[in-house]
C-alpha cells in the first residue's frame, strides 16, 4: 500500500500555490483568445514556393494595413497560419488579400482555410462558452449533491475548479490559443475529473460503512489504494488515446488534445490529493454517512 496520505499537506500546499499562480496569470497575463472569441480573420496558407516564408508573408500582409498581423508556421515548413484583427470589418478582405498575394507570389500558394468572425459573433461565442462551462460546473454540483453528502460534494467541486483553473493557467502561461475546441476540452475535463473523483468517493463511502474504527485519514488512503490500479489503467488508456490525437491528429486538434492531456493529468492528481483531503479536513466519519442513510 502506498502512503498517499503522508503527503496530503505537501500537495495541498502545492495545489494552493498552483491555483494562486494560475489565477494571477489569468488576471494579469490573461488568455490568448483566438478569433472565435476575439473576432478577426484567420487564414491557413500552403506554399509551393520556397520564396514564401514567414518573413516574406509578414512583409506582404503588413503592407495591406490590416492592423496587427501574426504569421506563424503551422505544422510543417510549407504551411502558415496568418491571423489579424480585421478591425474595420472590411467586407471583401479575402479578395483583396488574394490580389495582393498573387502580385508577390503568383500561383504558388493555396488558401486552405479561411475563417472570419465578426465582433458580434465572437462576443456571443465567448458568452456561450462561459455559460457552457458554468452550466456544466453547476450541473455537476447538483448531481454530486444528490448522490453524495455535502462534504463529498465540496471535495469534488474543489477538485473540479482546481483542474479547470490550473489547465487554463497553463494555457495562459504558454500563451496557447483559446478557441471553441478548447471550451469542448474544458467541458470534457470537467466530466473526466468528476468521473475520477466519484469512483474514489464511492469506495470511501463504502469503506466508511464497513469500518467504524478507522479514521478518515487512513480510510481515504485505503480507498485510494484499492482503486489505484483502476485509476492508473483508465488514465493510461485515456492518455494513450489523447497522445495519439496530439501526435497524429493534425495541427487543428493539437490545442484541443493538449488541454485534455493536461486535464486528465490534473484530474487524476486532484481526485487523490484535493478531493480526499477535503474529506479529511472536514473530519468525515461513519456518522456522516449513516446520518445521510437514515434520511433516505
Amino acid at each position: 500500500m502506498i502512503a498517499f496520505n503522508k503527503y496530503y499537506n505537501h500537495f495541498n500546499l502545492l495545489s494552493s500555490i498552483l491555483i494562486v499562480v494560475s489565477l494571477l496569470l489569468l488576471i494579469f497575463k490573461g488568455l490568448n483568445f483566438g478569433i472565435d472569441f476575439k473576432g478577426g480573420t484567420l487564414i491557413e496558407l500552403r506554399a509551393s514556393d520556397s520564396k514564401i516564408n514567414v518573413s516574406s508573408l509578414r512583409d506582404r500582409f503588413n503592407q495591406m494595413d490590416l492592423g496587427d498581423v501574426s504569421v506563424k508556421k503551422f505544422g510543417n515548413d510549407t504551411d502558415f497560419l496568418v491571423k489579424f484583427e480585421n478591425k474595420d470589418n472590411k467586407k471583401n478582405i479575402i479578395e483583396e488579400i488574394k490580389i495582393n498575394l498573387d502580385k508577390s507570389f503568383g500561383n504558388n500558394y493555396d488558401l486552405r482555410r479561411v475563417e472570419n468572425v465578426g465582433p458580434k459573433v465572437s462576443a456571443e461565442l465567448l458568452k456561450s462558452g462561459v455559460i457552457a462551462i458554468s452550466l456544466s460546473l453547476a450541473l455537476m454540483l447538483i448531481y454530486i449533491w444528490i448522490r453524495f453528502e455535502w462534504q463529498f460534494s465540496l471535495g469534488a467541486i474543489l477538485a473540479l475548479f482546481h483542474d479547470v483553473i490550473v489547465t487554463l493557467g497553463v494555457f495562459s502561461l504558454f500563451s496557447l490559443e483559446i478557441n471553441l475546441s478548447i471550451i469542448a476540452a474544458v467541458l470534457t475535463i470537467v466530466g473526466y475529473s468528476m468521473n475520477d473523483t466519484v469512483v474514489i468517493f464511492d469506495r470511501v463511502r463504502e469503506n466508511l460503512r464497513k469500518y467504524s474504527d478507522i479514521k478518515i485519514f487512513e480510510l481515504t488512503n485505503i480507498s485510494i489504494n484499492e482503486t489505484l490500479s483502476r485509476t492508473i489503467i483508465t488514465s493510461a488508456t485515456t492518455l494513450l488515446a489523447l497522445l495519439a490525437i496530439y501526435f497524429f491528429g493534425g495541427e487543428i486538434l493539437k490545442g484541443f488534445s493538449l488541454a485534455m492531456i493536461l486535464g486528465v493529468v490534473f484530474g487524476t492528481y486532484s481526485s487523490i490529493y484535493i478531493a480526499n483531503t477535503v474529506l479529511v479536513r472536514l473530519r468525515v466519519s461513519q456518522k456522516t454517512v449513516l446520518r445521510e442513510d437514515e434520511k433516505k
Binding site: R112, L139, M140, Y143, V198, F248
Partner: protein, 517 residues
C-alpha cells in the same frame, strides 16, 4: 449477473451484427434510400463554406414607419380627426392632437378590432404601442410587432437567399434560420465562396426612374452616384418600374454595339407602365438604379410597348450574368451582412480525415495492446468488446445520419480510451472479490454488482458534459458532443451485454481454475 438466457444471447448477437452491418454500409452504395444511409461529413472534413448572415432590419423598420405615417394621416383625415406635425424620429412616430380628439385617437390605437393597429390575440399585444405624452403622442412598434416584422423579413430573405444559391448551382446547400434575424448558409464542397458572398451581399433593389433637372419634382428628388463612382445625377423619386415587375432577366451579347447586356421581360403591369413612361418621356434620360447606384441612364428614343428591354452598363459577361441572376431571384427585403465565415478547402478536409483516421488507428492499437498486456484473456474480451463498440457507435451515427467532424473523430478516439474504464472497474473489483471468495462465479457476480454504481456515476458525469456541449456548441464542436454522448451509451451496452456475455461463458467453463483474472 453472469446468467444469460438463450433469447438474450440471440438478441445481443443480432443487435451487434445489425449495427456492424449498418456501420459497414458506409462503404457501399445502395439504390434504395432506406438502406443508403451514410455518416455525413462536416464542412471541416469534406471542405466547404459556412456563412452566417445577419439581416439589417433598420431600413425595413424605417420604411414601414414611413408608410405608417401616410396610413395614419389618411386614416384620421377620413374620420375628421385633426392630427398634425407628424414626423419620424429615432424609430418613433410623433404627432400632435387637440385636447378634444386625444381620447378618440388613443381609443383607435387600443381597439382590438382596429384595422390601423392589428391585434395579435395569441400574444395579447398590438402591433403598435402608443405613449401618451401630453398632446404630443408617440407611436412605435411593440415588442411583438417588431418580432413579427423581423420574422417576416427573415422569411422573405431566406427565400431570396435560397433562390440565389440555387441559381449558382452548388451541391446540396443547407440554408437555415437562426434566431429571428439571421440566416445560416452551408455550402459543402465550395472552396471559394467569393461569388456567392458577393451575390448575397447585394440587396438587388432595382428601379427605373427619370433623370430630372426640376428640383421641385412632385415626388421629390435625390442625387445618386453612378456605379463608377465618378459622375452624379439628380433622379426623381417616382418609380416607373421596379424589380418586382420583372419576369425574367438574361445576359446577352449585343452584337451591334459589341457589348454584354442584360435583357429583361416585364410582367403586364410593368409593360404597361414602361410603355406609358417611354411614350411620354421621349428624349428624357431614364436612370436604371440598383441599390442606390445608377448603372446607366440611357436616353429614351422610342416608345417601348413590347414589355421587354435591355440594360447596358459596361458589363463583362460575368457581371452581366450575376446581375441577371440577382434580378431573376428578386430583391432582398433588407441588406444582409456576413458576420461569420468559415471556409475549408477540400484538400485540407481530406488531410484532416487522414490525420483523424491515423490517430484513431494508432490510439486504438495502443489501447488494445495495453489492455491485452494488463489483463490477458480478459483483455482480449475487453478488446473484442471495444471493436464491437466502435462499430455500434459508427452504426448509430450512420442510422441517424449524424454529421462527423474533426473534433467528432477526436470524440471517437477519446471514447475508445475511456470505454475501457467500465471494464477495468469491473475487473479490478472482481480481483478484490477473489481475495476472500474462492467461488469464481460468486466473485464475478459480486464484481459486476458492486462496481455498478461507480460505473453509472462515472458515465452520467461525462454524459452531462456532452449534453451541455451539444446544446451550447456550434458546428464542429457539436460533432464532438455527439460522438462523445453516443459513445457513452454504446459503451454501456457493450460492457454490460457483450463483454459480460463473453465473461460469463469463459468463467463458467473455468469455474474451478485458480487465479482466473
Amino acid at each position: 449477473m453472469l446468467y444469460f438466457s438463450k433469447l438474450r444471447i440471440l438478441f445481443i448477437t443480432l443487435f451487434s451484427v445489425l449495427f456492424i452491418l449498418i456501420a459497414s454500409s458506409n462503404l457501399f452504395k445502395f439504390d434504395d434510400d432506406f438502406f443508403d444511409k451514410k455518416i455525413n461529413l462536416g464542412l471541416d472534413l469534406q471542405g466547404g463554406s459556412y456563412l452566417l448572415l445577419e439581416i439589417d432590419n433598420e431600413p425595413v423598420i424605417e420604411q414601414k414607419l414611413q408608410n405608417l405615417t401616410t396610413t395614419i394621416r389618411n386614416y384620421f383625415k377620413e374620420k375628421n380627426i385633426k392630427i398634425n406635425n407628424i414626423k419620424i424620429d429615432n424609430q418613433n412616430i410623433f404627432f400632435n392632437v387637440t385636447n378634444n380628439d386625444k381620447q378618440s385617437v388613443l381609443d383607435v390605437f387600443q381597439d382590438e378590432n382596429s384595422d390601423l393597429n392589428p391585434y395579435y390575440p395569441r400574444f395579447k399585444s398590438h402591433q403598435l404601442e402608443i405613449e401618451d405624452t401630453g398632446l404630443n403622442l408617440k407611436v412605435n412598434f411593440s415588442r411583438q410587432g417588431l418580432i413579427k416584422l423581423k420574422t417576416s423579413s427573415q422569411d422573405q430573405a431566406i427565400e431570396i437567399v435560397r433562390r440565389r444559391v440555387d441559381e449558382v448551382g452548388t451541391n446540396e446547400p443547407n440554408i437555415l434560420k437562426r434566431g429571428n434575424n439571421r440566416i445560416l448558409v452551408e455550402l459543402p464542397g465550395l472552396d471559394d465562396p467569393m461569388r456567392i458572398k458577393s451575390l448575397l451581399g447585394k440587396t438587388a433593389n432595382l428601379t427605373f426612374r427619370f433623370v430630372t433637372n426640376d428640383e421641385n419634382d412632385r415626388f421629390g428628388v435625390e442625387k445618386l452616384k453612378f456605379e463608377n463612382g465618378l459622375e452624379e445625377a439628380t433622379v426623381s423619386k417616382r418609380i416607373i418600374i421596379s424589380g418586382e415587375n420583372l419576369l425574367d432577366a438574361q445576359p446577352k451579347m449585343d452584337t451591334q454595339a459589341n457589348q454584354t447586356i442584360v435583357s429583361f421581360t416585364l410582367d403586364r403591369v410593368g409593360a404597361k407602365r414602361f410603355g406609358k413612361a417611354t411614350s411620354t418621356g421621349i428624349g428624357k434620360q431614364l436612370a436604371i438604379v440598383l441599390d442606390g447606384k445608377i448603372i446607366s441612364a440611357p436616353v429614351v428614343r422610342d416608345t417601348i410597348a413590347s414589355g421587354s428591354g435591355q440594360i447596358s452598363g459596361g458589363f463583362t459577361f460575368q457581371t452581366a450574368t450575376d446581375l441577371a441572376l440577382l434580378l431573376r431571384s428578386g430583391a432582398l427585403p433588407a441588406p444582409l451582412e456576413i458576420i461569420e465565415e468559415r471556409t475549408v478547402g477540400p484538400d485540407l478536409g481530406q488531410d484532416s480525415i487522414n490525420a483523424g483516421m491515423i490517430a484513431l488507428a494508432i490510439g486504438f492499437m495502443l489501447v488494445i495492446i495495453f489492455i491485452f498486456v494488463k489483463y490477458k484473456i480478459f483483455g482480449l474480451i475487453t478488446n473484442v468488446t471495444l471493436i464491437v463498440n466502435l462499430f455500434i457507435l459508427l452504426g448509430v451515427l450512420t442510422l441517424f445520419e449524424a454529421t462527423l467532424t474533426l473534433p467528432g473523430i477526436a470524440g471517437i478516439i477519446l471514447t475508445v480510451g475511456m470505454a475501457v474504464d467500465a471494464n477495468v472497474l469491473i475487473f479490478e473489483r472482481i480481483k478484490e472479490e477473489l481475495k476472500d471468495e474462492t467461488n469464481n462465479i460468486l466473485a464475478f457476480d459480486g464484481g459486476y454488482t458492486k462496481s455498478r454504481t461507480a460505473i453509472l456515476d462515472a458515465n452520467i458525469t461525462t454524459l452531462l458534459a456532452a449534453i451541455i456541449l451539444f446544446f451550447m456548441g456550434s458546428g464542429p464542436v457539436k460533432g464532438f458532443a455527439v460522438t462523445l454522448g453516443v459513445g457513452i451509451f454504446t459503451t454501456l451496452f457493450s460492457v454490460y451485454f457483450i463483454a459480460r456475455l463473453f465473461t460469463s461463458i469463459y468463467v463458467s467453463r473455468n469455474k474451478n481454475k485458480e487465479k482466473l483474472i
